[in-house]
Subunit: 371 residues, 3 copies
């Protein structure tokens, strides 16, 4: 159930983080740090510090040594040392220890707060590729003013593809839930939906559905936020099973659909990855949030998910800590499950290493045609 | 996965049982005992005895020694010895071994069948505080006859507060499901709903919603039955995620909302406790029903739930056995998870003891302002 | 979490497989074999071989030795050896090693592709009894032409009973979901539904509901496909909790309702088996698909399910491998959970053996009145 020491973590080569965000480059006090930790806005006046969580323990355990402290140093001491070293040094130390060499960066969140893909790649010592957030592109087109919304969106997506973007991201989960229709909304339906839409925050099922279908038509691998997130979403509407009709309708196209985070619906996501050719999944946000208990999630996901369909991501945002523990807990969690299977005679050591390399990077390289 | 012997259970001090019921004070034959064991009415003619369950094993293992029998004595022998000793002696032995010193007693069920809070506290050697059941208060007001339902309910709740009640309980899950509206029903909506309502059994979403909003307005911490229960409820309607709109609307008020039992939706309940300031949760009824396998539930709950938001309860009703095994399995289940984390280096021993004390009582004392 | 070696598997006597299908009797190339492995149509062009799964590992580990290969032989070597030995010899070896002596065979699928119950029983060295698939009977009646659909269906079901059928199977999950009404549709409702129905593939809630109610009226134990299946179904509609109203309405009749597969809703199915007298459940299809990780499913199911209500099945179709690993993983999974409970002092060794025998066969013999 718990994580092995980092020293015995498996070496599957450099990781491909297929869904992540930029870093905050400035120093953070305790309130600033806690605001970036998990999906709560901050510590509750009725509760205790956000460090009182599996995530908090994972940060204290795994990041402290990289800041020259003992493992599990108290939160106060950790945050003081973090300020002492300065954000740049902390980011450099944690990112280089994460062992990620390819970062697919969702650029649709946190402009002005976190750094962009190139700066992130520089700090990580890797390369970054862009993932375009569909709802943001749509809002940009509306705010710019347009007489041809569909044409303008397609043009922007093609332009992003030309500039190296390797996929698109839908946040339908946050806006309208995942019950996307099987058929692409018509031009008339789209116009009708846009008539009442706010360009600041598009909340429209026809628009989100049109964007998702359009991304696949353009051949862009399509990420969906699935499951767990902040209190803006209705988690019941974020069960990936709600995508079933959409997936049935889009399978023939042969463009990957990638289910992000998945928790607590990761078994459902694993099922979809088995029965639909084009479905992949990850445990991004869920891994660092559940800390040492994330290993259970990997075991549950592997029950049905084909080994060729599971991906690694951190979904890290803002804090370099989330990159470090995301990568480390992934190696520990998946590695621990595989090690147990090998030890019990349920797979060979070669099988285990092969599966580890698939999930650590090979599956992502195949899905996004990165090579 | 299984429970350690009681001798190595952690000592987190006396427990606060934040949700429980009174005891049957008379002797019970086998049929009477089985009728009180779990959420079945009794053993099925198509199945076997209710002792053939994780709950039955837990009773046989942990309660037998307190009745001078070997652990896991056969059910027949256990029940014979129980009769031999008499209900008063059995209740005394089991309750004093449970180690509970504060009992928040839901008084809305079993009048005339089980004892009241004061008698319960006397047997347990602790103190009892009342939790007022909202639907019962509403039905009492209707049965008494009223020209001002709202005013009379508020008066009764205030009176209970004045007499020491520390919280309210909603059984909306049993009556109408948990899809409570974000807005408090208006006086007109309430009147319309009451027009067709039975004073014997109120089944009305506007009434249940009005009661829940009203309890929070009065500053009463509000318990919701969530998840698993008997065959009267529709478990699909008891997913705590259905409370999302209600929780979003009531967070600002800063009054605790406490999700009871949670199973099999305990991961969802843990998520809600992370993203909403005022949400707490427990695994009451689920702990004794799943017996030695309840440890998995604690591990799954701790994945996302803040350590400052998880509470202990037994949800015991009628049988002192349910108090004893509820308390013991809680210590074993949570303690086992914490011990594993400490052993793996994922938390310090001091961290583990701190978390244990939070859940055993400190969180409840803070949520209900008991001190 | 993983399976013990077969040599230490518990001996609970011959198994009753209460839900299975016939075997393919001809040789299979790789494409033919993979098409029969799991709920995918075949390997995805975006993924890897279907052997890259828990199911694939289980086949390689447990079936290879029976074909004179080392455990975990590569898939290519396994399939070559399978061809070399020939289907008849492979079927004979694997089926006799499975240790199943009674097979309740769903005859509603794969006519002309797989063998019938008698041939299957001959290969297994056991006896077979028929389970009648309700939707198939209804389609046969419609295709034959009828002026009395209800009467003709009842006559066919009575005739099957007379010929030795021991139960009926509903695939409402695949056609209309599990939200069956509490009341049997009237003759008028049935006629109206049949007016627009295709005799090739009946997709009608009133018809599926009428069939299910009718089977129980005739005293036929009624199996429901529940949960996980291929991409034809909408898994959200296959949660057994959707059956709650139907179960509440039919409990009094005292005829068993048996929930098949259950995953990922096996905890929900366990709850239903506790609170409704006539509900039983299994983990058929889920056991072989999750391979060595299936043990977790048994632990989670036993949390609430009465020990007298859980059944064994393989849901094997086409491949003798699925019979072998279904039976072996069942013994390993349930046996592993029981062994752990015994080792921890949570049940006696005699308790463990008793529960094993209940689930391996006694519960099925009681539910279907097989003796």
């Amino acid at each position: 159930m718990t994580s092995p020491p980092a020293s015995v973590l498996p070496d599957w080569g450099p990781l491909v983080d297929h869904h992540c965000h930029g870093l905050v480059l400035t120093d953070l006090d305790r309130a600033g740090f806690e605001a970036l930790m998990n999906e709560a806005v901050g510590p509750s006046p009725l509760g205790t510090t956000l460090f009182d969580s599996m995530l908090g323990l994972a940060i204290r355990r795994h990041c402290s040594p990289l800041l020259d402290l003992e493992p599990l140093a108290p939160a106060e001491a950790y945050l003081a040392r973090r300020l002492e070293l300065g954000a740049a040094e902390v980011n450099r130390r944690l990112m280089s220890a994460a062992g990620i060499d390819t970062l697919l960066v969702d650029t649709g969140l946190g402009e002005g707060v976190i750094c962009g893909p190139d700066e992130l790649a520089g700090i990580a010592g890797g390369t970054a590729r862009e993932i375009v957030r569909l709802e943001q592109v749509a809002e940009q087109v509306l705010r710019a003013g347009t007489s041809d919304f569909a044409g303008d969106v397609v043009a922007r997506l093609r332009s992003a593809q030309g500039a190296g973007a390797v996929g698109a991201k839908s946040i339908a989960a946050y806006r309208v839930g995942l019950g996307l229709p099987a058929a692409k909304p018509s031009a008339v339906e789209l116009d009708r939906a846009l008539a009442g839409a706010s360009p600041l925050r598009l909340v429209s099922m026809p628009v989100s559905a049109w964007l998702a279908h359009t991304a696949l038509e353009l051949g862009l691998p399509l990420q969906f936020h699935v499951g767990y997130g902040d209190s803006d979403l209705d988690l019941l509407d974020c069960d990936p099973l709600r995508l079933t009709a959409f997936l049935r309708a889009t399978q023939e196209r042969g463009v990957p659909v990638l289910l992000l985070h998945s928790y607590p619906y990761h078994r459902n996501a694993g099922y979809l990855a088995q029965v639909f050719d084009h479905v992949f999944l990850d445990l991004g946000l869920s891994t660092h949030n559940t800390g040492a208990l994330s290993r259970t999630l990997y075991a549950e996901t592997l029950e049905l998910a084909p080994f060729g369909k599971l991906l690694f991501s951190t979904d890290a945002y803002g804090l370099a800590e989330l990159y470090l523990i995301g990568a480390l807990l992934f190696r520990a969690g998946l590695g621990g499950v595989l090690d147990d299977l090998v030890a019990a005679g349920d797979m060979t050591a070669a099988d285990g290493a092969y599966v580890g390399r698939l999930v650590a990077g090979d599956n992502a390289r195949r899905a996004y045609a990165l090579d």
